[in-house]
């Protein structure tokens, strides 16, 4: 038991040391509220380049803090959102933006989903139109059988 207590004490020291390490400087928001809001909106769209699928808004990594500072500086210098993005892409490549560029190589990515809806929708409408012609009226026997069946199933499956 005493050994456990000693161990806990040692760990407390280790933890204290770990916690006392100089942390990255906390983010200093821009004095202009509108500029700060723009910066924060941008953070969510920018990928922390060393992290696994985290935006610089979310990442605790040091480089994410550096990137946030960079974005804030550029915005404070009066650059537009688009210009800030372009600067980041020049520096880190397309990879840095969570919004992939629209170019020949990404057409499928961007337009595929909508093309699928339109294409499949068109096929469905075309087939439905063609098939309507094939509907045959029921014979008298079939009508009677149907009436019996629906009366029966209405009991069980009202609605």
């Amino acid at each position: 038991m005493r050994r456990l207590a000693a161990l806990a004490g040692a760990l407390a020291l280790a933890a204290g040391a770990a916690m006392a390490e100089p942390p990255p400087a906390p983010d200093r928001p821009l004095p202009d509220a509108a500029q700060e809001a723009r910066a924060r909106a941008l953070f969510g769209d920018i990928r922390c380049v060393v992290c696994q699928h985290e935006s610089i808004a979310d990442s605790p990594a040091g480089i994410a803090a550096d990137m946030r500072r960079l974005v804030r500086e550029e915005i404070a210098a009066g650059k537009s959102d688009q210009a800030v993005r372009q600067d980041l892409v020049r520096r880190y490549g397309d990879y840095v933006l969570f919004q992939p560029p629209v170019r020949a190589g990404t057409w499928l990515l961007w337009f595929g989903p909508f093309a699928l809806v339109l294409g499949a929708g068109a096929v469905f409408v075309w087939r439905a139109r063609r098939r309507r012609v094939e509907v045959q009226p029921l014979t008298a026997d079939e009508e009677r059988a149907l009436a019996e069946l629906t009366a029966e199933s209405d009991e069980a499956e009202r609605g």
Binding site: H53, Y95, F98, T106, P113, L116, V117, F124, A128, E134
Partner: protein, 661 residues
């Protein structure tokens, strides 16, 4: 000893699963009920053996047997018992045994199911046995959870402390029940293709499995999302992370499946398409397993990354899905397409539903795999994240939601759109009013957010209107309405609930995303951070000792900026786990009605005047409660539908068969 028993049981389960396929195939070919029954029995026995192996693994974790390499790597004596047990499915090897347990267990239930015709049942048991054989072989040959270590270490290396959380302890079992539950739909689909029998009865048999799996998956994803929300300390609940996407694809395909199965069951139409979706849903499950475990994608969730295992999983995926889709390509043209229907009809609405759900699933698939494929082809690296999905997935979903409430009010075969819309005008009017009210009331004014809120309200009101129409609410005496409400099948209630739940989720997601506020500052004791309508004061900080961690615990008071809401005290912690050297955050959550005030204790810092200070981050997340309430309501709707008499295996089907004969 018990560990060796577990290892033996796992091998036994593999042999029994192989035997299942052999016996069931022989039984089917010779039309022998005895052989077929033995096949079903072998699958049940395989499930029992897998359960035994899993129990042995849990035992090894419970007693911290560090001579087992899996336990040594993933557990620690200081860990509370719940997390020791949960660690059994927290690693790649353990979770694979869980995967196999669900697969053989559901297979055993399939073998026990009554009412299925001989051919379909025997074939589906054979397919389920084959799937189980592949995954059990994967476990036994490449991922043995019982491998021993010599010498055994004195202490374990602990589980990632981020995962030491009740929501996450139950997240994998539920997720896997969903993922792997779809394997039964897959087996039934392949069996139907083998038997060349895809008819309304088949739709009825496949639907309960799809419903149950989908409901499990909903709750599984919900728990994972809730965990990410309060454990990662960023206030985010969905990141469009590849691994989240991997769980979302089978969910979307499963949702499409359970809708299209209705059309097959009730009208005999879309049969081929339903079979395709049943194959697709489990294919997405396997794809997800491959993505998570192979390390081809970078993600915060990726675990046990091992390229060799990845290749094995890819091989299983290729064999299972490849065979199923090839069979589908050959047999699908022969599937009779069932009764014709006009574009404007219940069937037509469900086709639209399927169109949008599949397109949504395709979007998630594209967004997840495109960076990988593009890099492979051209070497260009891109990232696909939230802005992409906001521009593609979200509009698809919203258009689908606009159409949704009309669907249940249309008649089968040929619907009366005007009539349906007449019944919905009140709901539509109220939804528009809600959108306008939201536009005026929420600061800052955002037109898109208001439109999104209108869509959420439209879904909830539409579901109410649908129930109202069916119970003649306000148009018949109350007693009549109550009688009709009681007589309404559980499936109808389930559908209304699930649709309303989607609306509730949309309300929460829209408001949280559009109007959340965050603030961070380094504050000394007594310092205040304001975010949205709330102020948070740091009252005290003390170092506390947990079972396997040390924590700096801040006590903070949440107060309104103005008005007279009660003050509440929350605690937020920053935990340090000496065993693995990691630091985690325990956020302080103050529930304020539908809103959350979300408080995170950060690192120590120095205030401007040199005083000791702590970084305190405060998020104001309006309506965040609805984000998690919505999917829970959806899952409840699924469960209600599942309890509907009509779906109970055996019930009602006997009479159906007589009619057919």
């Amino acid at each position: 000893m018990i560990v060796e028993l577990g290892a033996f049981a796992l091998i036994l389960a593999l042999v029994l699963a192989g035997l299942t396929t052999a016996l069931a195939t022989a039984g089917r070919l010779r039309l022998s009920p005895v052989l077929a029954g033995a096949g079903g029995g072998a699958l049940i026995a395989s499930a029992a053996a897998t359960a035994l192996a899993f129990a042995a693994l849990i035992y090894a974790f419970a007693v911290s047997d560090f001579s087992v390499s899996n336990v040594a790597l993933n557990s620690h004596t200081d860990k509370p018992m719940l997390y020791k047990v949960a660690a059994a499915w927290g690693s790649h090897e353990g979770s694979l045994v869980l995967w196999c347990l669900v697969m053989t267990g559901f297979g055993g239930a399939l073998a026990q199911a009554r009412g299925l015709p001989f051919g379909l049942k025997t074939s589906s048991v054979a397919v389920q046995g084959a799937l189980s054989t592949m995954f059990l072989a994967f476990a036994v040959f490449t991922s043995n959870p019982f491998a021993r270590l010599d010498p055994a270490p004195v202490q374990g290396a602990s589980l990632n402390p981020l995962l030491q959380d009740p929501a996450l302890a139950f997240h994998p079992p539920l997720l896997y029940a969903g993922y792997v539950g779809f394997s039964v739909c897959f087996s039934l689909a392949v069996a139907a293709l083998i038997e060349k029998r895809v008819d309304p009865a088949w739709g009825r048999w496949v639907r309960p499995w799809a419903l149950a799996s989908w409901a499990f998956l909903t709750v599984g994803i919900l728990l994972g999302s809730f965990w990410a929300y309060y454990e990662l300390g960023w206030g985010g609940w969905w990141f469009w992370d590849p691994v989240e996407n991997a769980s979302f694809m089978p969910w979307l395909a499963g949702a499409a499946l359970l809708h299209s199965a209705i059309v097959t069951e009730r009208r005999g139409a879309l049969a081929g398409w339903t079979v395709f979706l049943a194959i697709l849903a489990f294919t997405f499950s396997m794809l997800g397993a491959f993505l998570v475990r192979s390390g081809v994608l970078t993600s915060v969730h990726a675990f046990a990354v091992d390229p060799e295992r990845g290749m094995m999983l890819l091989a299983i995926l290729g064999v299972a899905a490849g065979a199923a889709f090839i069979l589908f390509a050959f047999r699908a043209p022969a599937i009779r397409s069932g009764a014709a229907f006009a574009p404007i009809s219940r069937e037509g609405a469900l086709v639209l539903n399927n169109l949008f759900l599949t397109a949504a699933a395709a979007t998630v698939l594209l967004g997840t795999l495109y960076p990988l494929i593009l890099e492979g082809i051209s070497g260009a690296t891109i990232s696909v994240g939230p802005p992409y999905f906001a521009a593609t997935f979200v509009p698809l979903l919203l258009v689908a939601c606009l159409i949704l409430p009309a669907g249940p009010l249309l008649a089968w075969k040929r619907g009366d759109l005007k009539g349906a819309l007449q019944r919905l005008w009140l709901a539509a009017g109220l939804a528009v009013v809600a959108a306008f009210a939201a536009f005026l009331l929420f600061e800052p004014r955002k037109a898109l957010a208001a439109a999104g809120l209108g869509v959420g309200a439209w879904l909830i009101l539409g579901a109410l209107a649908e129930v109202g129409v069916r119970t003649k609410a306000f148009r018949a005496p109350l007693a009549e309405t109550l009688r009709r409400g009681k007589g309404l099948p559980l499936g109808a209630w389930g559908m209304a609930l699930a649709h309303a739940g989607l609306g509730v989720f949309i309300l929460g997601a829209v408001v949280e995303t559009s109007f959340k506020a965050e603030a961070a500052a380094a504050v000394p004791l007594g310092g205040v951070v304001s975010s949205g309508p709330w102020r948070v004061r740091l009252d005290a900080v003390e170092v506390i000792e947990g079972p396997n961690y040390l924590a700096e615990q801040g006590r903070l008071t949440v107060m309104p900026v103005e008005g007279r809401a009660v003050e509440r005290v929350v605690t937020a912690e920053r935990r340090f786990f000496p065993a693995g050297g990691q630091t985690t955050t325990e956020v302080g959550l103050d529930f304020r009605g539908l809103d959350d005030v979300y408080v995170v204790m950060g690192e120590r810092a120095r205030a401007d005047d040199g005083q000791q200070a702590w970084t305190v981050r405060v998020y104001y997340n309006p309506w965040a409660r609805l984000i998690f309430l919505g999917p829970a309501i959806m899952a409840l709707g699924g469960v209600l539908s599942l309890m509907d008499r009509r779906l109970r295996v055996g019930a009602g089907s006997r009479r159906k068969m007589e009619v057919k004969a």
